[in-house]
């Protein structure tokens, strides 16, 4: 069976179609600005996502300053605090993580890894980025309008999101909803591209079961996104109508300020169902690409094949499918019919099985490997630990009876930051250190990388591990200040101060990372074509960085799976996917 994965004898059929000529840019503008090259678009997506992500990072500092040292900073009041919370959450989840994994890594890696010259619809791909940029600009504009951005929490629950008493009800919420709608339009253009490219444009011999797991992760996540985002889209449009023309999709009869509003018979719970029908798959839209990337990076740097490739593929697909039937585990205390709890707790805990299997297989890939502790590998190890931690606390919150006491406390905040904040971000770091040499032709600085890694890893753990325990005490989330509360001991305040200080230290380390990237573009050590001795096609390009069209005159032909590391009887400890069987140097003399 294991031989089947490395089956080099499989006949690679001749190309059925002639190569289509690529669009060739002629001016600076069409080459680097309104570019249709997926690699340029990827860098545009990444640059924009990281820029807005830095705004999200600064917002988290402001938030932590208030929580650690209440009554200290005159520029933070309840209004601005809730605005920071809201914008931080939305920016990080949608505009940073989703955009960076799919628009950034998806664009860069899919064509290169499947052996395609570009995405199948380059023009639409370009449009996708510009629409995304528009969404980011609309979002950013909300900081500058009267009333400021919305402070409704990133979940934007109505009725509160569109009523007095919530900051940003004048303009902020409108811009937020419009921005989301625009984002989804832009994402759909890109998303269709990623899916069709994977299905349609793989190089000869690149069967689905020979694709690197990175591609499997991004591919599956994109399908999830194409199915999940429409729920957010309609929820956003309906709330806009409620806010702008007075419909009552989500608005029941309400008395506010002694006045009976004109709304009637709408359902606040309907919004929550729509939001989480999107919101839960969203977790996996971020996580699945991260799973894929981690699998590939671990395999390369442990010089060992990913353990259980086929199980890993099916686990990605199973997790993707199951992620659509667990959404209401975010709503155990929402007031929905409590009998739903039985169903959603069961489905949620079932998802733990394929997820745990992936965890085991990553660790089993390290087992009997020949592990190079490079920066990307260190970040992957940190990912495994933080994702394990966040996955385990997910078992608390997914299990309905266990969730009830913990829901809406800092335990939840600690859980989701560990599992879909820290863990995916660590993967992004791993991926940047791993693929930057291909994107720029230069290595990132190792010493700064070590500094960045240790501060980020240990700092994140110190921030979020103890935070769970504040949740056990019962400290609620989204509190501007705890004030006088009899059950919260003074030691909780000390812990909050500690967390805030660590947050600021970790924050500074991220600036070092950004400087490392910018400086290394010019001063980094030259990387060569394949600095990690990796097997996948993106490392086999004729030039580094790869030129327009990715590969040279001939598209690569794929002869084997992506994980031919340390194959017995072969001289090198890796065999590129496109190396013809006859060219493999054998150390055992024979074939």
């Amino acid at each position: 069976m294991s031989e089947g994965l490395l089956d080099e004898t499989q006949v690679i059929p001749p190309a059925e179609l002639e190569e289509v000529d690529l669009y060739h840019a002629h001016s600076f503008w069409t080459k680097y600005v309104f570019s249709q090259d997926a690699k340029i678009i990827a860098i545009q997506y990444s640059g924009t996502a990281i820029t807005i992500g830095l705004v999200g990072l600064v917002l988290s500092w402001l938030m932590r300053l208030q929580l650690g040292f209440p009554d200290t900073f005159s520029f933070i009041d309840a209004d601005t605090y809730y605005q920071h919370v809201t914008m931080h959450g939305m920016i990080m989840v949608i505009y940073l993580l989703t955009a960076l994994f799919l628009g950034g890594f998806g664009n860069y890696l899919i064509p290169l890894m499947v052996g395609a010259r570009d995405m199948v619809f380059p023009y639409m791909n370009m449009l996708s980025y510009w629409v995304y940029l528009l969404a980011v600009l609309i979002l950013t504009a909300s900081f500058f309008v009267p009333g400021g951005p919305t402070g409704a929490g990133w979940t934007l629950y109505p009725p509160q999101a569109i009523l007095e008493g919530t900051p940003g009800v004048e303009w902020g919420i409108i811009l937020m909803l419009v921005s989301l709608v625009v984002f989804i339009i832009g994402f759909t253009m890109g998303g269709l591209n990623y899916v069709v490219t994977v299905l349609q444009s793989r190089s000869r011999g690149m069967t689905l079961m020979r694709m690197p797991l990175t591609v499997w992760g991004i591919f599956t996540a994109t399908i999830l996104a194409l199915l999940a985002f429409p729920a957010l889209f309609v929820a956003g449009v309906m709330m806009l109508l409620d806010r702008l023309i007075g419909t009552s999709f989500f608005m029941p009869e309400i008395i506010q300020g002694g006045e009976l509003l004109s709304t009637t018979n709408g359902s606040p719970l309907l919004f929550q169902h729509l939001f989480w029908f999107f919101g839960h798959p969203e977790v996996y839209i971020v996580a699945l690409p991260a799973f894929g990337v981690v699998s590939d990076i671990i395999s390369v740097h442990a010089r060992k094949n990913i353990f259980g490739y086929r199980m890993m593929v099916w686990a990605i697909v199973a997790i993707g499918g199951l992620s659509f039937v667990v959404w209401a585990h975010h709503m155990y205390v929402s007031g929905m019919n409590p009998y739903f709890g039985f169903f959603f707790a069961t489905t949620t805990l079932i998802i733990a099985v394929p997820t745990a299997l992936k965890m085991y297989n990553w660790v089993l890939t390290l087992w009997k490997g020949n592990i190079q502790l490079t920066i990307p590998m260190l970040f992957c190890v940190a990912f495994i630990l933080t994702f394990l931690n966040g996955g385990i606390t997910g078992l608390f919150l997914g299990n309905v009876a266990v969730d009830i006491p913990l829901s809406d406390t800092l335990f939840v905040v600690a859980h989701f930051h560990m599992v879909m904040g820290i863990a995916p971000v660590l993967v992004i770091f791993a991926a940047v250190y791993h693929w930057f040499p291909k994107m720029s032709g230069r290595m990132l600085n190792e010493g700064w990388g070590q500094f960045h890694f240790w501060i980020t890893f240990i700092g994140s753990y110190l921030i979020y591990f103890p935070m769970h325990y504040l949740g056990f005490v019962g400290v609620p989330r989204r509190y501007f200040e705890i004030g006088e509360t009899s059950f919260i001991p003074p030691s909780a305040t000390t812990l909050n101060e500690f967390i805030t200080i660590v947050v600021l230290i970790v924050g500074v380390a991220q600036i070092v990372f950004i400087i490392n990237i910018i400086a290394s573009i010019w001063t980094g050590k030259p990387a060569g074509d394949n600095p990690w001795n990796a097997t996948t096609l993106e490392w086999q390009t004729a030039t580094t960085p790869p030129g327009h069209g990715n590969f040279g005159d001939e598209l690569p032909v794929t002869y084997r799976w992506a994980y031919a590391y340390s194959v017995p009887g072969v001289e090198d400890d890796f065999v590129p996917q496109n190396l013809a069987p006859g060219d493999v140097k054998r150390s055992d003399g024979g074939q």
């Binding site: 809730y82 009523l163 002694g258 094949n305 007031g335 385990i392 994980y563 400890d573």
Partner: protein, 303 residues
């Protein structure tokens, strides 16, 4: 090498922190010990997996660290091992789910002897309504809420006349008496949250939600709002006082009914005995016309 040591320190440190940290659940004050037990079981099962996996990973990173002359093992897959691990995980999941769902079955089954207590939330305070001698709460509607009817009780429903209204932030509950907490909001989402009771639930405008519990420890407990409800969210506080029967009855006898507090609204011909005990923080304005339910439903309706 360093990373392996750090992983071991994290694994051991986390366990030490868990045992020695001063932060843990507040002492239980309700019947929901089963929720605490489910959490403790979850801790044991997942905690063992957590520590074991980290230590195994640390071992691998140390033992199989890069050596130029060594080659990694080549084993693409091992179905037997993968299936064994999957089945063990599935068993672990069953171990987590079983106590959870058993507790949940209890949670969704309200005992017959539970008395109803209504919590009404608004930005940003709490008020409460108890059934009168008839043991039944009168029908109510948000559309009927005004200065002279702060709970929106339907005057046509005779069950509502003797409802006890508590327009202050202090609710008393009787020790060992199961209560079904009926939750209403007149504006946005709120969540009635007393950490010592463990149970909590959102208040959702437009519907009545509930949970049940039995207070098992006398004392005074903070009520917090646990669902973001605007800029005053963190300040939406109240107090629950759990009394033994005698003290509870004494407190209850001092509370006023709907008919007594708002005779004109309740259309009971008797003079008001007292002015309302304490005015709500945000009084409805006096000059608003009173809308009836039928009038309000004539406004824009979608769906």
């Amino acid at each position: 090498m360093l990373i392996a040591i750090v992983l071991v320190i994290i694994a051991i440190g986390s366990v030490v922190f868990h045992i020695w940290s001063p932060w843990w659940f507040t002492p239980l004050a309700s019947n929901w010990g089963s929720l605490d037990n489910a959490i403790v079981i979850t801790f044991w099962i997942t905690g063992v997996v957590y520590v074991a996996l980290i230590l195994f990973m640390a071992y691998c990173l140390y033992k199989y660290r890069y050596k130029k002359e060594r080659r990694a093992d080549y084993e693409p897959e091992n179905s037997k091992l993968e299936w064994t691990l999957s089945i063990l995980t599935a068993l672990g999941v069953v171990g987590l789910l079983t106590p959870g769902l058993i507790a949940w079955a209890d949670f969704v089954t309200v005992p017959k002897n539970a008395i109803e207590v209504e919590v009404l939330g608004k930005q940003w305070d709490w008020s409460y309504r108890l059934p009168g001698k008839d043991g039944k709460l009168g029908k109510s509607s948000v559309a009927l809420i005004n200065d002279d009817n702060p709970f929106g009780i339907d005057p046509k429903d005779p069950n509502g006349k003797d409802d006890v209204l508590i327009e202050s932030d202090d609710l008393h509950l009787q020790l060992d008496q199961p209560v079904k907490m009926l939750l209403r909001s007149q504006d946005v989402l709120h969540d009635f949250y007393v950490p010592q009771f463990r149970a909590k639930m959102d208040l959702v405008p437009g519907m009545i939600t509930f949970f049940w519990m039995t207070p098992t420890r006398a004392g005074t407990f903070d009520v917090l709002c646990a669902e973001l409800c605007g800029v005053g969210h963190h300040a939406m506080r109240g107090t629950v006082i759990v009394d033994a029967k005698g003290a509870y009855d004494k407190w209850l006898s001092g509370q006023e009914t709907f008919a007594a507090l708002y005779p004109n609204t309740a259309k009971v011909k008797q003079a008001a005995k007292d002015a309302p005990a304490s005015a709500p923080v945000r009084q409805a304005s006096q000059d608003k016309p009173i809308l009836t339910a039928s009038e309000s439903t004539q406004s824009l309706r979608v769906q």
